[in-house]
């Protein structure tokens, strides 16, 4: 395993009951890189993403074998799940702010982890909103309902909420699919900034987005990794004909 590997997945198999959704998936996710997961619907990319912070534990019929190491420690046996989800945060497809104020949305995580001091919480809220490029737009209405924000702002709020608990890895499941082009481009710029400090894994159906923002791209097909490599190679000269057909829009 390379010393810059943040998450190492080896021979991962995942079953929903009798259905095998992932087959022998192995991948090194490097520190401070953006790794894009692409593939047609039902190929296993979101399942894979959710496995990285054990979100699949919430589904009873899921059975997993194989190894997933985060910072060289097995996420099932050597990480406490709460601590793991703090370090490996997640942003979902649709913005899902809590029905509370902007401030409380961001402070929610730190409070859950025991921070009560108002000054510290204020600092965290400001820092997180700044990192998510939302501070300037909301600094005068921090105590207004988060649901009053636009879709793009809500999604940046959700990113800020993840950043507030000081994660190490941010998982994003199609974070811009519900957003307009301007909001999408703001999130893409944000991802580019965030990768200086965070490791990002993003599922996207938008090929151009994967091409624009990621360092590495993994193409999933039928629950297997068909091809994984530098994004430049995947989009300019992929080695698998299946990858070429998919990214060229010939199927999927």
């Amino acid at each position: 395993m390379d010393k810059t590997t943040k998450i190492n997945v080896k021979d991962l198999n995942l079953f929903y009951g009798d259905f095998q959704a992932l087959h022998n998936v192995s991948m090194d996710i490097r520190e401070k890189e953006v790794t894009a997961l692409i593939g047609p619907s039902g190929c296993g990319k979101s399942t894979f993403l959710r496995t990285l912070n054990r979100m699949n534990d919430l589904i009873d019929i899921v059975k997993i074998d194989g190894d997933i190491n985060y910072d060289d420690k097995d996420i099932y046996s050597q990480w406490d799940v709460i601590e793991l989800r703090k370090k490996v945060g997640m942003v979902f497809q649709k913005p899902n702010p809590f029905p509370m104020s902007i401030f409380d949305n961001i402070a929610y995580g730190p409070r859950t982890h025991g921070i009560k001091n108002k000054a510290i919480l204020s600092d965290i809220v400001e820092k997180s909103l700044q990192q998510a490029s939302l501070w300037e737009e909301v600094k005068d209405r921090l105590h207004k309902p988060a649901l009053g924000l636009s879709g793009g702002q809500q999604q940046r709020l959700c990113i800020a909420r993840v950043l507030a608990v000081e994660p190490d890895v941010v998982l994003m499941d199609e974070p811009t699919s519900a957003l307009d082009p301007i909001s999408t481009s703001r999130i893409e710029d944000l991802i580019d900034e965030l990768k200086q400090n965070y490791t990002i894994v993003i599922v996207t159906h938008n090929m151009q987005q994967a091409g624009r923002i990621s360092d590495k791209t993994a193409f999933f097909l039928h629950g297997k990794i068909e091809e994984f490599g530098p994004t430049d190679e995947i989009f300019f000269n992929p080695s698998s004909p299946k990858t070429e057909e998919y990214i060229s829009g010939k199927f999927g």
């Binding site: 090929m207 151009q208 091409g211 989009f235 300019f236 000269n237 992929p238 990858t243 070429e244 990214i247 060229s248 829009g249 010939k250 199927f251």
Partner: protein, 216 residues
């Protein structure tokens, strides 16, 4: 069928490149024909018709750019489009060489050539055949054929060297023949450059297939 419109656009672009190649071949044949027969009218026709070739280059370049903008192709499709745009430029340059030859024809119309034209028409024939095979290799996505075509450029290069050597002997024998020999030397050079452009086309055909820039 997914992206039929896109496939149609690409096929249309290939057809247009084929047409442009044929037109340039025709220009080159006419230019050398005009040279052989001292046919000034035909030479002038080549010069005048070059505007059509220039316009074709612009139109096809725009068409390629538009497909890139609208369809956002990647991988092999993108490489083929990049190659198309580069190939169009090389074809247009060959058209320019036909014009240079036509202009030389007009300039030399009242002079006796210092020697009978043997190698020059042969070089033109070779260059035109290489051009048509290279364009076909692009349209048919056949890098092997492109490699073969590029290899035949060596014959053109060698013929040019031989022509230069021969013309030098004429110049050394009789300084009065220097101007006439120089004109033929330029023409041979234009034809040799035609081969170089064809070789570029072949390299773009290989690039479209492999993504590698190979010197053929």
């Amino acid at each position: 069928m997914i992206r039929q419109h896109y496939e149609d656009d690409l096929a249309e672009l290939s057809r247009e490149i084929m047409k442009m190649g044929l037109r340039v071949e025709e220009a080159m044949n006419k230019a050398v024909e005009s040279l052989k027969n001292k046919n000034v009218e035909l030479a002038q026709e080549v010069i005048d018709d070059d505007d059509i070739i220039d316009q074709m280059e612009k139109d096809l370049c725009d068409k390629g750019a538009l497909i890139i903008a609208r369809e956002q192709p990647v991988a092999g499709d993108l490489r083929h489009l990049i190659s198309a745009i580069k190939i169009i430029t090389d074809i247009e340059r060959i058209g320019d060489h036909a014009v240079h030859i036509a202009k030389a024809t007009i300039k030399m119309a009242d002079e006796e050539y210092i020697k009978p034209l043997v190698d020059i028409p042969r070089m033109a024939e070779m260059g035109c055949s290489m051009l048509s095979r290279a364009v076909a290799a692009y349209v048919e996505k056949d890098p092997k054929a492109a490699v073969d075509v590029a290899a035949s450029d060596e014959i053109l290069d060698n013929t040019h060297k031989q022509v230069v050597r021969e013309l030098l002997t004429y110049m050394m024998e009789d300084p009065h023949k220097i101007e006439g020999a120089m004109s033929l030397m330029y023409i041979s050079r234009f034809l040799e450059r035609t081969g170089d452009h064809v070789r570029n086309i072949c390299e773009w055909v290989v690039f479209a297939d492999t993504g590698e820039h190979e010197s053929l």
